[in-house]
Amino acid sequence: MQSQVLALNVGWAEWPLKTLGVLGVVLLPAGTTVYLYLFKMVSFMQSRLGPMEAGPYGSMQLLAEVGKNLQKEDIFPAKADRTVFAMAPYVVLTSTFLLALIVPFGPEAGFASLDTGNFDATTFDGVGVFYAMAVTSISVVGILMAGWASASKYSLMGGLRAAGQLIAYELPLILAVVGVVIQAGTLSLQGIVYSQINGEIFGFGGLGLPYILTQFVGFFIFMIAVQAELTQAPFDMPIAESELVSGYLTEYSGFRFLMFFIGEFATAAVFGFLGSVLFLGGWAVPPFVMDIFGIDEFSNWFNFIGPAVMATKMLILTFIIYWIRFTYPRFREDQLQKFAWKVLIPISLVNIAITGVLKVAF
């Protein structure tokens, strides 16, 4: 077992540090994207300033919101199933944390690879992508629990809509990623990063081969499916405020609402990390930049700059998510299901078939 974090020997303190690290990876990007995009970008899109009072340019607004929610009364509806109602937000957050666990941030910087037990750069064998797709589906259970236990019609309708939507869009999400897996020849997220570094574009290796270039159809479907998995507009029927008050969140307030809120935006950020690993080359910079600085892809420097590179790529992907969220109006419920089953799934199946043929041909 390695007891090095970023090449510093920390001994027994490794696991507490990793726990803190997972908390940081879930909470910090969530806070950053909420401030940058949900507060500021959407305000500028709508020709207003957004929060300006708390801190410089309203940068402390988030702390104010969290403080406000923590002070609120923890309300349970009179007829609610108290245990299930209380547990539901934890189930949703569990799914987010489990997802954040396997994202690689550098050659050795990561939490639990589920590959061969360590972040070994030479053997790429493991269940990385498959695990990620599996734990994504746990959040549906939490949403169904919230919808049922609230003892409210709006909540139940919202929960059912959410479950139908998440089941429908999980398939294109998985199928879109299969193209990348075929091309990289491994399920391991670390292996996918390395195969992108070592890839070549028509014999030119200076840029590596980010799979967004060859798998752009997969990337497109991945981003749409992520949008739907996060129940962000234009896929926000489960919490459609004009029809269902607030869907499965209707009866939640205070701390438990805050947990759902954090879960939603943290999952957006973690999907951003996952998307940058799968399609944008992960923690690596293009090989010609590595040549300039005279380092290779196993260099310890990547344990330090890898997280920053990942954060940059994640911010680009989450920017697209929020940009679309605030640009397009909501789909109708039946249009949503049709779009998943009749458009996205057939396209992603064709994408897999073509990728497979090309993989064998070249």
Partner: protein, 182 residues
């Protein structure tokens, strides 16, 4: 508490991975408790949620055994698909808050008999196979690599794999045919 842990350590011997054994003990207590509650509770949704705990515990045991692929499959198939569909169906039809008295089924004694019989048979066969602590038998039981799983599915077990795929496809088409009214 500490005494019971050290007893447990003695019983399992030093040659085995002690932290894994403690984790296995905790997980199995959770799984058995949840399984008992699942069949005794009066509420359909609670029953499904206890089933979730049981299935998740089994996935955790797979991880302890080094079978990561099986664990991920367990989560994806049983929790992500089957359990969600079960909850979905229950909530669409009858999911009263509070309990249902008529959930106490008359045939539960037969069910109890069957499960005891199954328990005895499985315990006996596992004990016969591995119970003697003969470590020579366990040589070669290393954590499974995903690539090895894939290789054996698509070479040694290709015929059963394809047969199961066709069977599932037939079931899928059958479900569509049954569900269509026209």
């Amino acid at each position: 508490m500490l005494a019971s842990v050290s007893l447990f350590a003695q019983a399992t011997g030093n040659s085995w991975d002690l932290p894994a054994n403690i984790a296995f003990g905790i997980i199995s207590v959770i799984a058995i408790g949840a399984a008992l509650r699942m069949v005794t509770t009066n509420n359909v949704v609670h029953s499904a949620l206890y089933l979730l705990i049981v299935l998740a515990s089994v996935a955790a045991v797979y991880i302890l055994l080094g079978a990561e692929f099986a664990a991920a499959t367990q989560v994806l198939v049983y929790i992500g698909a089957i359990l969600v569909l079960l909850l979905f169906g229950v909530m669409l039809t009858r999911a009263r808050l509070g309990g249902d008295e008529d959930l106490n089924y008359e045939q539960r004694w037969i069910g109890l008999g069957v499960s005891v019989l199954l328990f005895v048979v499985m315990t006996y066969s596992i004990w016969e196979q591995y119970g003697t602590k003969d470590e020579a038998r366990l040589v070669g039981y290393e954590p499974q690599r995903t690539a090895e799983v894939a290789d054996s599915i698509f070479s040694t077990y290709i015929v059963p794999f394809e047969a199961v795929s066709v069977l599932l496809l037939a079931a899928l088409i059958g479900a569509v045919v049954v569900a269509r009214r026209d």
